[in-house]
Symmetry: none
Subunit: 415 residues, 2 copies
């Protein structure tokens, strides 16, 4: 099955935001064996929206749009698509009712402008959107389909997964053929060092392709099977992933969307152990990473953000003399921070981070990017110094990931 | 001047990478007064590349492509564009020589596959690319122009700035003409309610256009001047922004890329006041937001992530009886958390957040998304209950922004 995507928004053509919806649509549709033959972006202008959607419809007969469904006047997709199908917009009583209920639940009166969100092209199927006010719309007539989704990424993703993909699977044109990827996630090793370890695997895994994808969480190894039968793709991907895992060894922390924080929480939960953190340069991001995992509260007790040195002393019990002798960014201080957090929260495991995230504060001995990390589990402790590249945001993100990885490796040696 | 952009790459339609070239092209061309009327993305397939470029050329007569200029499998953009212009590909001696020199400099032998990179459509202008092996190409005939740029972002940006924009400016159609935007940032008010306050301003500001851009940090109001003379655009944008600020009133916290955390830090720094935070459901994100601002350490002392109830009691001094009587997500507890942080860190200002970020933990009285926020400044305190929509990540991001906004508003009433 083939289709086209039209993403609508002036901010997209002016380069004011990245088109993350294009990524989500591309990935999810490919996984479902659907080929996107073309993707078009146009500004919030009626004539441009109509031309782009009508041309895409003429070429492939199936178009998914994102954006232009909000309550304000710059949102015009619905009207233009209705015109292409020569249908009037009519008020949908069920949509109006669910909108009114939504506002009641949030304890607010519904503004009149939201009423237009209850208008749909006559005969359209309404795709309920529990995450927002604009429902998705599926307009179909004589083998021509336009599916309109909202531009807010979380709403778009929800509707795609819950309403659009099941309907597309039901059309039966994609039976058995997939474009499918599998990802092995590594951290704590640079891309070039990882490439040396993995070696020239590309010929062995052909026709699968391999990509190295570095980011602040490490280097992902992604193998892709292109338009193979599902069983063949799965068999080849499993074999390639097993080979990659074997070669990358202890640097692998999971597959697909595995999150190192979730991995750590699972390991601790299995041992009935609890965790606390002490943060300086990450300023709360490490706690934020951990608590981003639903259900983290049974393992994570809390943390202390000790941004000022007197807080390291008063709340974490780091001796002032230690800070004076070695500096706040040192092995001695990071170990004392971890011990202080462990004791203060009365927990089994503790992580600590202290470093220089920049842009200021670097010296010759301790340049910007210098970070000391520590992990404690019971009486075992480990500290590590890293010098991270990147800007302030990247250094902080890499620091949080490296702290989690230090605990993973410590637990591995103790297991 | 108007043109279309065609970005070429299978990874783009499969959603494996974000199209950052689209952002760079959109931003740079808009600043130069060029309007991108449509942007198209296609896979590395000859027929699709040719159709997309030819159609774009028919519509606007000027097309910029990115991608498909590499040395191997994807060396197809050049061939398809040459075919559209009915020109042969010929070996360019100067390009070949500079390629050979480049390889010599890197101490490597030039692979035979790179020779094809020296082939150009007959009559094309070669745009030198010092950052990579593929030069840009400018093909022009009878008022039809196709400019081909490599897909590697740093090479694309370099060629755009150094070779393409100067040539476009030299065409004289864009002298002094710009597409320019201005953004007024609001928070603490829903899109539809904001639209009611702003009213039907679109007619008054025409030919400028207005877009409402909601996100977890609030609703941005973006006005855009399309292809006006620069002085005219600036004058109209300033007038429109002033009107929007007046109508949106106290909900405005800044313009352009203003960050509410930076705004708060500036306000506190001016009064020589220091800040601490107490976080439950945000788990460190609020501290993370604040410390993302370079130089935050002179204002921000630190924070306590009190994820477990006993931490709220032991580290923040919240009476256990209060938690028992009202629940951890309550006005009483959030105010006690803020007071505890203020006292514990010995600071002037404190923020506290406690809520139910989901997906579990909601009740009829306190559904998922219920968040209590508190701000303290000296002896003044304010608490606020909000019920945020969205998933766990959005609820947490909105909570951090709302906490910062509560302090902004409290400082406004005390000023």
């Amino acid at each position: 099955m083939k289709l086209e995507v039209v993403t609508i928004g002036t901010e997209l053509v002016l380069g004011q935001i990245l088109d993350t919806n294009a990524v989500d649509l591309g990935r999810e549709l490919a996984a479902a064996g659907v080929e996107i033959v073309r993707r078009t972006s146009v500004a919030d202008r009626p004539d441009m929206i109509r031309a782009a959607v009508a041309e895409a419809l003429d070429r492939t007969g199936f178009v998914i749009t994102t954006g232009g469904l909000g309550p304000t006047r710059d949102d015009m997709t619905k009207k233009e698509v209705a015109a292409i199908f020569e249908k009037p917009l009519i008020l949908d009583a069920a949509v109006l009712q669910s909108l009114e209920e939504r506002f009641r639940r949030l304890g607010r009166a519904m503004p009149a402008s939201n009423r237009t969100q209850a208008e749909v092209p006559a005969g359209a199927t309404v795709l309920p959107n529990p995450r927002g006010t604009a429902p998705g719309l599926w307009v179909e007539e004589a083998d021509r389909v336009v599916v309109m989704l909202p531009g807010v990424p979380s709403e778009m993703r929800g509707l795609l997964a819950e309403e659009v993909l099941p309907r597309i699977a039901g059309r039966g044109e994609t039976a058995g053929i997939v474009v499918r990827s599998r990802t092995v996630r590594t951290t704590g090793i640079a891309e070039s060092a990882l490439a040396e370890r993995v070696g020239a695997i590309e010929d062995e895994i052909a026709p699968l392709t391999l990509a190295y994808l570095p980011s602040s969480s490490g280097v992902d190894l992604r193998v892709t099977a292109w338009r193979l039968r599902v069983e063949d793709a799965e068999r080849r991907l499993a074999a390639a992933a097993a080979q990659l895992r074997a070669r990358a060894g202890e640097h692998v922390y999971g597959e697909e969307n595995a999150d190192l924080a979730a991995t750590i929480l699972d390991l601790l939960r299995a041992n009935r152990q609890r965790l606390a953190v002490a943060e300086s340069c990450t300023g709360g991001l490490l706690g934020g990473r951990i608590t981003a995992v639903p259900g983290s509260s049974d393992v994570f007790a809390g943390g202390i953000v000790a941004y000022a040195d007197d807080v390291k002393r008063d709340l974490l019990g780091v001796p002032a003399a230690l800070i004076k002798a070695h500096g706040a960014v040192s092995e001695e201080v990071v170990l004392a921070m971890a011990a202080g957090a462990q004791q203060r929260f009365g927990v089994d495991a503790a992580l600590a981070v202290t470093g220089i995230a920049g842009p200021g504060g670097g010296t010759v001995d301790k340049p910007v990017g210098t970070v000391w990390l520590a992990a404690r589990l019971g009486n075992a402790a480990r500290a590590l110094r890293r010098v991270f590249p990147g800007d302030r945001g990247e250094i902080r993100a890499r620091s949080a990931q490296a702290a989690l990885d230090l605990l993973r490796r410590l637990m591995g040696t103790l297991a």
